[in-house]
Amino acid sequence: MDEFNEMLAGGETQGMYLTFSVGDEEYGLEIDYVTEIIPMQLITEVPDVPSYIKGLINLRGKITPVMDVRLRFHKPPRDYDERTSIIVVTQDDNSIGLIIDTIRDVLTIDDDQIGDPAGVKTGTPNRYISSIARTDHGNKLIINLGRVLSDH
């Protein structure tokens, strides 16, 4: 996990993606969105929220909401284990934690490897996915973070 955070701190981020898995699929997230990766934390539950919002964590004194990406993608819940991680992303100065199954890698993906999911002709594209990248490490579903975080 530390090595990922070191990579995040490094300079050039153009075309770099953080890849992780949720269930059987692997996803990619543009690294510019990512602040850091932290292990699973103690979560304080908040009443009345949608089930994919798990609650609040203490991120070095900052109270930060966390979302379970698995539940957000309507996949069946599963227990957290030692590989479960939280990707902290920043949107409009607010930090939000994304709980995912396993962190995979940081990859550089060229634009010509990325295809429009509509072009793949697999029926209706998932609303949280903006495109699909074909890499040497297999296919990665590129996340549309704005949609994942939006309240629809």
Binding site: L42, T44, E45, V46, P47, D48, V49, P50, I53, L56, I57, N58, R60, G61, I63, T64, P65, N94, I96, L149, D151
Partner: protein, 701 residues
């Protein structure tokens, strides 16, 4: 020139100065006259306002400041025998209002463009009267508004011909910022007295602050003004740490007295010229004759006055509140980090004597640090109180009522955030007291056997972790019957009249849109007063209540927390979750007796408590938490109250006391689902975990 820090500084300084000015004026008016000290201070304030606004090119402010400064210059130097202090106070308060209005314009991004002619004309009219009465021979003062300094200049140049050369080096306070602008400001002021001024660095408006910090601002001036006057001007300037002022003309001993004589000549009537000439310099306050024997020493360094000024100023610095807020936040985090380290579970069971000792020391020091940071944010309430003097004066004049305002406990300290929110409510309360509370005229008061002059007492005092601010008047008091009649008409009385206590009934007047005053007056409008008071006070976590004795007046009691930052709370647990309830809102906690539980046909659970019936809120149901404690006798009942509304909440167990630093629920969550019912915010606990704070208000009402 229009960069923000300078504008901020200008606004900050001038707001403070106008407030101080207002205080002095009210003080003088109450004393029925101006003392020499007051006149000097007003003069100094006006001088600074004039200087800074001229520098910022706010011409109208500078003009008004200049004219008032002239007026006080005249008063100070000529001691007119008949001073109409009312008229002077009126003129100055007018000017104060004008300044405030202009500063407000500037603050909202505009520029100062107010109409000054009315104020200026009034000042000039009064100056004419003053000089007419104060001077045996009014002829030389035909144009009374002309600055006396200029008259002096003209006269002395005529008789003397030569100019003195002064050299000055000014060092500014460390870190006062914008040293070049401050130097420019001084040069600007000095130019009133000097024919030629040269400075090193040459152009002060260029970015040369570093140079000034390193070497000081060096000013060479050619002037016919006595060195004492120049000295006074420089020592009045803000943020001057020290300065050297040398007379380079070589006739150090002689020149000082010479211009003094010429200065006096045109005035003719003043009997003791030596007494008159040296400009009083309040900080050093030498006996009037002292400058003459002192004069030979002048070419040497003269640090004494500068030091005196210095000592007064260095005790205070102004700090941006944002920085204090950040400091406060950081402090909260440090307290939590410390306890995370000290109580770290990795250390459990280890014998660590040295570590224990070091961590005890760390905890003690952070505790002290926290105390100091809290105290930095605390301000005495006096400035807010003094603003009220003005309200009493103005409303009194408008309504034709006389009232004295007694201020008690003005040194009581309250958090800065709270002070900012107190001003408006207090203003409403005082206006109400003046308008509705006090009898309409002296006769009515005399008939009631009271002092014809009304009396309003504004008092602040500490009470535990709260501050109580009360405002009482000795007027008619609240009319219970009138309030009941109105409450009925508006439809607020939902129960039979006999069930209401006096307190309930008085509480009605804080209901939105409630006013027993039929006529809408200019001062206190249509009953929007008291509900605004209540809202504003509640915003800072306070409460308002009223007491009244018919015919003897009423009292408004405001109870506010000392600080908003820390909320003493009781921690309770439900299932695996912990919640906090503010200690203030907890009436009692007890193991319920099953005989007291009532369940109505809808399944709604209630509990009998001291002969009254209260509904029960099961927290595990409200917050949808799994817990094994679902039988009332296994858990605990906590009676919470807010504003006399009470409810019983049912929790698993009480854990202990916590000092909560209240933080809002992140907007990511509230944007989705709005405010969470039953939750007021969250906080970090000592062990680094997060706890939700229960919103007592929404659960009880």
């Amino acid at each position: 020139m229009a960069n923000d820090p300078m504008l901020d500084m200008f606004i900050f300084e001038n707001v403070q100065l106008t407030e101080r000015l207002e205080e002095i004026l009210i003080e003088c008016e109450n004393m029925g006259g101006f003392t020499e000290e007051h006149i000097n201070e007003i003069f100094r304030i006006m001088h600074t306002i004039k200087g800074s606004s001229a520098m910022m090119e706010y011409e109208p402010i500078a003009q008004v400041g200049h004219h008032i400064e002239d007026m006080f210059f005249f008063i100070r130097d000529h001691h007119p025998t008949t001073l109409d202090s009312d008229e002077i106070a009126d003129i100055c308060l007018n000017a104060v209002d004008f300044f405030k209005q202009e500063i407000a314009k500037i603050q909202s991004g505009g520029t100062s463009d107010g109409e000054t002619s009315a104020i200026l004309a009034r000042i000039e009219r009064y100056m004419a009267i003053l000089s007419g009465k104060g001077e045996a021979a009014p002829a030389p003062e035909a144009a009374p508004a002309a600055p006396p300094a200029e008259a002096v200049k003209a006269a002395s140049v005529a008789s003397d011909g030569g100019l003195n050369c002064y050299k000055c080096k000014i060092i500014f306070d460390d870190g006062c910022k914008m040293e070049n602008i401050r130097a420019y400001q001084i040069v600007n002021t000095l130019s009133d007295y000097c024919d030629t001024i040269e400075t090193i660095p040459g152009d002060l408006l260029e970015d040369c602050a570093d140079e000034i910090i390193a070497d000081g601002a060096k000013i060479t001036m050619y002037s016919d003004t006595p060195i004492e006057r120049i000295r006074a001007v420089i020592s009045e300037a803000l943020f001057v740490k020290s300065f050297e002022l040398l007379d380079k003309t070589g006739k150090a001993a002689a020149p000082a007295p010479v211009p003094q004589k010429t200065e006096v000549t045109p005035m003719e009537t003043v009997p003791a010229p030596v007494q008159q000439a040296p400009i009083p310099q309040p900080e050093t306050a030498p006996p009037p004759a002292a400058p003459v024997p002192e004069a030979p020493k002048r070419p040497a360094l003269d640090e004494l006055p500068a030091q005196a000024v210095n000592e007064i100023k260095q005790n205070f610095i102004s700090v941006n509140v944002d920085k204090l807020d950040k400091l406060m936040d950081l402090m909260g985090e440090i307290v939590i980090s410390v306890s995370m380290v000290v109580n770290n579970s990795d250390l459990a069971g280890l014998q660590l004597d040295n570590f224990e000792r070091a961590s005890a020391q760390l905890q003690k020091n952070t505790g002290e640090l926290q105390g100091i940071i809290m105290s930095v944010r605390m301000l005495p309430i006096s400035s807010t109180f003094h603003k009220m003097s003005r309200i009493v004066r103005d409303t009194g004049k408008k309504l034709g009522k006389e009232a004295e305002l007694v201020l008690l406990g003005e040194e009581t300290e309250v958090d800065k955030n709270i002070i900012d929110n107190l001003s408006d409510p207090l203003m409403h309360i005082i206006r109400n007291a003046m308008d509705h509370g006090l009898e309409d005229n002296r006769d009515e008061r005399t008939a009631a056997g009271k002092n014809p002059v009304g009396r309003i007492v504004l008092e602040a005092r500490n009470s535990g972790s709260d501050v109580i601010i009360s405002c009482s008047d000795d007027g008619r008091g609240l009319n219970r019957d009138k309030i009941i009649a109105k409450a009925k008409a508006v439809g607020l009385m939902t129960r039979p009249e006999s069930e209401y206590t006096d307190k309930d009934i008085y509480q009605f007047i804080m209901h939105p849109g409630f006013s027993t005053n039929e006529a809408v007056t200019e001062l206190s409008g249509r009953g929007v007063g008291m509900d605004v008071v209540k809202k504003n006070i509640e915003k800072v976590g306070g409460t308002v209540d009223l007491t009244s004795t018919p015919g003897q007046g009423m009292t408004v009691n405001i109870r506010i927390p000392l600080t908003l930052a820390i909320l003493p709370s009781i921690e309770i647990s439900v299932g695996k979750n912990n919640y906090l309830i503010p200690t203030l809102n907890i009436r009692e906690a007890y193991k319920p007796n099953m005989d007291d539980i009532i369940i109505d046909p809808d399944g709604k659970e209630m509990i009998m408590y001291r002969g009254e019936c209260f509904s029960i809120v099961r927290l595990h149901q409200l917050f949808n938490v799994d817990t094994e404690v679902t039988n009332f006798q296994d858990g605990i009942m906590i009676m919470i109250e807010d504003d006399d509304y009470m409810t019983c909440v049912f929790a698993d167990v009480m854990v202990g006391e916590q000092q909560a630093v209240v933080k809002p629920i992140p907007s990511f969550i509230t944007e989705r689902i709005g405010d969470i019912y039953g939750i007021a915010g969250c906080t970090l606990l000592g062990d680094g975990s997060i706890s939700l704070i229960i919103d007592v208000k929404s659960l009880t009402h």
